[in-house]
């Protein structure tokens, strides 16, 4: 990794400034691999740019439908009542920037690029009132945040000598699998002048992947094998302890 970092430095040092808005970034790992011992991961994003400006990094997880349910009290018991389905909501969303977003660009620009937790596009066919839908939308974001899948817009990226930047991207143990998109933007004078997209797959590997895939692709065989394992384990235990 250090070598890679150095490489970028060298490239920048020797290359002539052909474009004014150059930007290069890379991740410390090509993927997030979920294996037996997985209890969350942290990736390092590092890169370099030229001249002054602001760096904004977004990490967007796979899009999927999310159902938000509201509990209501019925005869003293909390029961799920109303629900709203949001289509193509990112399963994971993280933003990091060199400064608070509102200092980097005007709201219209951020809105267009969907930069910021409150600007994620969430569509629904629900016929509820806009105020209600907003409450459900806020609940989605709140629940995602408490599950550490969405994070508050942070401004923790430091631009060293207007050249180098780095940012850590944390993933909790419950990180959903799928294709993630890491986008690095370079803002100058409130406008995005350059960006770079890097795909980041989050996937199960090794035994975890085999078990998961088998369970989903050969569900009947999986069930049969689960029963067989249980029968053998139970029988074996009986035999061993009868001898002892």
């Amino acid at each position: 990794m250090a070598a890679r970092f150095l490489f970028i430095l060298v490239v920048f040092a020797i290359a002539p400034p052909a474009h004014a808005q150059r930007l290069a970034a890379d991740l410390s790992s090509k993927e997030v691999a979920i294996s037996t011992g997985f209890s969350g991961a942290e990736l390092l994003l590092f890169g370099a740019t030229e001249g002054y400006g602001d760096i904004v990094v977004t990490v967007v997880g796979p899009l999927r439908n999310e159902v938000v349910r509201r509990k209501q009290r019925v005869a003293g018991i909390w029961v799920n009542g109303a629900s709203v389905t949001f289509y193509e909501a990112p399963a994971y969303y993280r933003i990091a920037a060199t400064r608070p977003l509102k200092e980097i660009a005007p709201p219209g620009v951020l809105e267009k690029l969907q930069i910021g937790v409150d600007r994620i596009e969430l569509s629904t066919h629900s016929k509820r009132s806009p105020a209600e839908i907003l409450a459900f939308r806020k609940a989605l974001i709140r629940n995602k945040k408490s599950a550490q899948l969405y994070s508050e817009d942070v401004s923790d990226i430091r631009l060293v000598r207007d050249l180098l930047f780095r940012s850590t991207i944390p993933f909790p143990a419950t990180v959903p699998i799928g294709e993630y998109q890491v986008t690095v933007y370079l803002f100058k004078n409130g406008k995005p002048v350059s960006s770079q997209k890097t795909p980041l797959p989050v996937r199960k590997v090794g035994m975890e992947a085999q078990i998961y895939n088998f369970a989903h692709q050969h569900a009947a065989w999986y069930g049969a094998i689960a029963i067989l394992i249980a029968l053998v384990a139970g029988w074996l235990a009986g035999v061993i302890f009868r001898r002892a």
Binding site: S39, I77, W78, T85, F86, Y87, Y222, W235
Partner: protein, 306 residues
Amino acid sequence: MQIYLPIAEISLDALVLLGLGGMVGFLSGMFGVGGGFLMTPLLIFIGVPPAVAVGTEANQVVAASVSGALAHWRRGNVDVRMGVVLLIGGFIGSTLGVWLFTFLRGIGQIDFVISVSYVLFLGIIGTLMVVESVRAWFRSRNPSAPRRKLHYHNWLHGLPFKMRFRRSKLYISALLPLGVGILVGILAAIMGVGGGFVMVPAMIYLLGMPTSVVVGTSLFQIVFVTANVTFLQSVNNQTVDIVLALLLVVGSVIGAQLGARVGTKLRGEEVRVALGLIVLAVCARVAWTLVATPDDVYSLGIGGRH
């Protein structure tokens, strides 16, 4: 030692899971019960998604019941005819139950139904156990009190399709064990239990089976019904986590052996009162999750398949 569970999709401490299996296994060995009714709520409390807890627990009960079922089989303590009728009911019930489970999961009510089922059944069974044992204890103090009849003849014995169950010395309608089997099958699918805690009292009090064949026959039925639930949950919901089941099985078989040794040293009534109180404690804990105001009344559901 954190281990990532491939189906539950969470990371838990393997030692905690082994310990949990051991603890529930100990209690189940001591009291001679399956332990599913304790394990499923405990798994949910430590963060396993309820649907995965139920599906996986059915798989674990297969392992927990098979050696007992074999032992009773060898001693001839299984009424096969009765077992088969119960089993037919069990297959019908568990198939219905898994279908119901899939449906409830789709509309976002499965967690609620699991909790309510637990509160209802644990509440009833726990209360009956405690009351019955306290009564038995008083009777042993006062032997002159009149004894209760073993079973009563009522309208249930007028039902058609009478069958002779030679091993149980019974001539009753096949609809009775079939109905018991169906009910237990539904419970197995929705609660992730073997259902022994419902079936054993039903066999004794409702069917009037002799106690010598009750446990063997119920274990015989449980093995097949929980196997059916494991299979159907795997196919319909993909909620059986083999890694989780295996950890629980290893812990519980060891715990069960130790528990069985301790159990033989305890008096019957004391054991039943203790078990009744544990059952009521779990019931109260689950009931609390239903009535306590949640931290956030909004929650994220799974799926959203449309």
